[in-house]
């Protein structure tokens, strides 16, 4: 086998993976999204109707029509983007100092600290979200502790509201922010900060003019890793949220499993993917401008 052929074979593997496990399912979803919901198995109409002797492509825009006309979906999308966006900002505000602290920690502690960041992954995501119910509920750990200490006299409403959803998302996705930031900050040459100090920068000025701009790729990667899955999140709003925290991921889940409306669920999924491509493209553009 020639070297060129071998190289192509190696490259073919990830492409095959992407086609098989990403493109094909996406096309199936796309196909279902333009079908009509029917009662039966499968619960959607066939794409090609061959009943009348001739072949006829049977496309229905009904699901997409409902998507833009029914407030429910628009509100759920906007909600999802709001929750994901604000959570991303909080992840950044918490994750940046955390990553910076780990980079600056003595070398022998660094891997331990990184391990602690990753440690929650060793427990099931679902169990960790359930654990937050135990912490946040009316007679949960936090309320009981505050009542016992006499800080409050009435239990606080911490669960089944927006606050609980933010806590859940920030808690769950923080490692995805910390790890790329750590990787980026670790590459930063300490001599650059000395050079900035030498040229008259106080430490905070050096941070703003050197460290922060140079950590932008890490910030972008972390923000995408948090924002994108958070938009589609349905476990956290289902378990910790209330009636006012409807997110698009939960709508999708309900359409699929509660209403058995596969075309609608698929339309929601396709629209979500398209909407997520926008911020990704924007950030890519931004980063290319940075390095050019």
């Amino acid at each position: 086998m020639s070297a060129a052929l071998r190289r192509r074979a190696v490259l073919a593997l990830p492409y095959a993976w992407l086609v098989l496990f990403f493109l094909v399912p996406f096309l199936i979803s796309l196909k279902i999204s333009v079908a009509e919901s029917v009662i039966g198995i499968p619960p959607y109409s066939a794409l090609i109707d061959a009943s009348g002797g001739s072949w006829r492509l049977d496309l229905s825009g009904e699901s997409y029509h409902r998507l833009v006309t029914d407030d429910l979906y628009v509100v759920a999308y906007l909600n999802a983007i709001k929750f994901a966006g604000i959570s991303t900002v909080f992840c950044l505000l918490l994750g940046y100092p955390l990553a910076y602290g780990i980079v600056r920690a003595p070398r022998r502690f660094r891997s331990l600290l990184l391990l602690l960041v990753i440690l929650p992954f060793w427990t099931s995501f679902l169990i960790r979200v359930y654990a937050w119910i135990g912490l946040l509920k009316e007679n949960g750990l936090i309320n009981n502790a505050l009542l016992t200490l006499g800080v409050i006299h009435q239990p606080l409403l911490l669960l089944n509201n927006a606050f609980a959803v933010y806590v859940g998302i920030v808690y769950s996705y923080l490692p995805f922010m910390v790890l790329p930031l750590y990787a980026q900050l670790e590459k930063l040459d300490p001599a650059l900060l000395e050079a900035a100090a030498d040229l008259g920068c106080r430490p905070w000025q050096a941070f703003l003019r050197v460290t922060l701009p140079l950590s932008m790729p890490g910030i972008a990667a972390g923000a995408l890793l948090v924002f994108i899955p958070a938009v589609g999140e349905f476990v956290i709003p289902s378990l910790l949220g209330g009636p006012d925290t409807l997110m698009i991921g939960k709508v999708l889940w309900d359409e699929f499993f509660a209403n058995h409306d596969w075309p609608m669920a698929s339309a929601v999924a396709v629209a979500m993917l398209v909407l997520l491509l926008l911020p990704m493209g924007f950030i890519r553009r931004l980063l290319q401008g940075e390095t050019a």
Binding site: L192, E194, A195, A197, L199, G200, R202, R209, P213, L214
Partner: protein, 370 residues
């Protein structure tokens, strides 16, 4: 032996004064800088020269304020720098790695300190342009560091260190990252810029040739201390110790014992040379152990038969270097000597390996080391 204080411009006040500075990186550890005192005059090109680990870079970082001394004082322009952070010191540093900001263009790098000082935009632009012209980088102002060659990056770093018009610029191995040919060209360039701007340069280097060709004064450091201070010529021709003689250029050393002194000359019995050598030197007690140091270019081959310090040997190897040839010559006792002869003619035959030769050096060409 202490070398005489080198000449300095008349009534020039010292701009940088270092008094008994000590720096240890861990309590109880050997001092990286061990009681260094130094005066540097405004407008000088001064070199700290020494092998790696001699403390020269630590001393530079103490001056820039990146490290704090454990003892001693640093005065810049008469002001004690104790407790003064790097961003308030009137010095700028050119880093060995250049430490250019990768997200900024060459012009933005040069203007970094000026922006920090809050200068008006027009003035920054004018000064950045002047600095880039000084280092001949005008056309590349909008390139980012990764789009520049090593030599261009080096010049951006220099322009950045000069942009805030400091009176003292610290240069940490400024030429180490350049290839050989560029390094030699840049030596002259650096001296030219230093003289044109009239700023004081304090350079750290491990390259003796670099230090000698650029600096007006050199401090040779070893083990955290200054072992000799002087002009390049003093350092080369009057080394104060075997370490300095050996570190600065090549040298032939003859171990020996003083046999007597007469009329400004010292007679030294050397078993290695297999002869009694005569050198110009003040009297020393008979019997004291000394070393006679002779530079390779100060030895002549095929001297006349009456020449003093005439020795016999055999050529062991020859290296033709273009402008000169270096011979390795073995004396009768097995001692190897290095002799450099200029190639004055185009068709000089030179000496062949194995050939028996006579060699000699003048009594004034040698130095007596303790």
């Amino acid at each position: 032996m202490i070398s005489p204080e080198p000449e300095r411009p008349a009534n020039a006040a010292s701009y940088l004064r270092i008094e008994g500075v000590v720096k240890r990186f861990a309590p109880g550890a050997a001092a990286a800088v061990d009681g260094v005192s130094l005066d540097i005059v405004a407008g000088e090109f001064f070199a700290l020269l020494g092998p790696s680990g001699c403390g020269k870079t630590t001393l530079l970082r103490l001056l820039a304020g990146f490290e704090t001394p454990d003892a001693g004082r640093i005065l810049i322009d008469g002001v004690d720098m104790a407790g003064v952070p790097p961003y308030r010191r009137p010095v700028n540093m050119m880093f060995q790695s250049y430490a250019l900001f990768p997200h900024m263009t060459a012009a933005e790098n040069v203007g970094f300190g000026l922006r920090q000082d809050g200068l008006p935009k027009a003035e920054i632009a004018a000064r950045v342009a002047a600095m880039l012209d000084l280092v001949k980088l005008g056309p590349l102002a909008r390139r980012k560091p990764h789009q520049l060659s090593g030599g261009e990056r080096q010049r951006v770093a220099l322009a950045r260190a000069l942009a805030q018009e400091p009176k003292l610029v610290l240069l940490d191995e400024p030429l180490a990252a350049l290839d050989r040919k560029l390094r030699e060209e840049t030596r002259f360039e650096l001296v030219r810029i230093q003289q044109r701007v009239g700023v004081t340069f304090l350079m750290v280097t491990h390259d003796q040739e670099e230090a000698m060709s650029m600096a007006s004064r050199i401090a040779v450091m070893s083990g955290g201390r200054i072992v000799q201070l002087g002009t390049p010529q003093q350092i080369y021709e009057e080394p104060a110790s075997r370490f300095v003689a050996d570190f600065i250029g090549a040298v032939n050393l003859f171990a020996g014992r003083v046999a007597g002194a007469a009329a400004g000359f010292l007679h030294v019995d050397s078993a290695e040379a297999g002869a009694t050598l005569v050198v110009e030197h003040a009297p020393l007690p008979t019997g004291s152990e000394v070393a006679i140091a002779v530079r390779p270019e100060k030895i002549t081959l095929a001297p006349d038969s009456m020449a003093p310090n005439r020795l016999a040997g055999r050529v062991r190897g020859a290296a033709y270097r273009g402008e000169a040839s270096t011979y390795e010559i073995e004396l009768a006792g097995g001692k190897l000597l290095r002799v450099t002869l200029p190639n004055t003619g185009r068709r000089t035959a030179g000496y062949a390996t194995g050939q028996a030769v006579a060699l000699a050096f003048a009594p004034a060409a040698a130095v007596v080391l303790p």
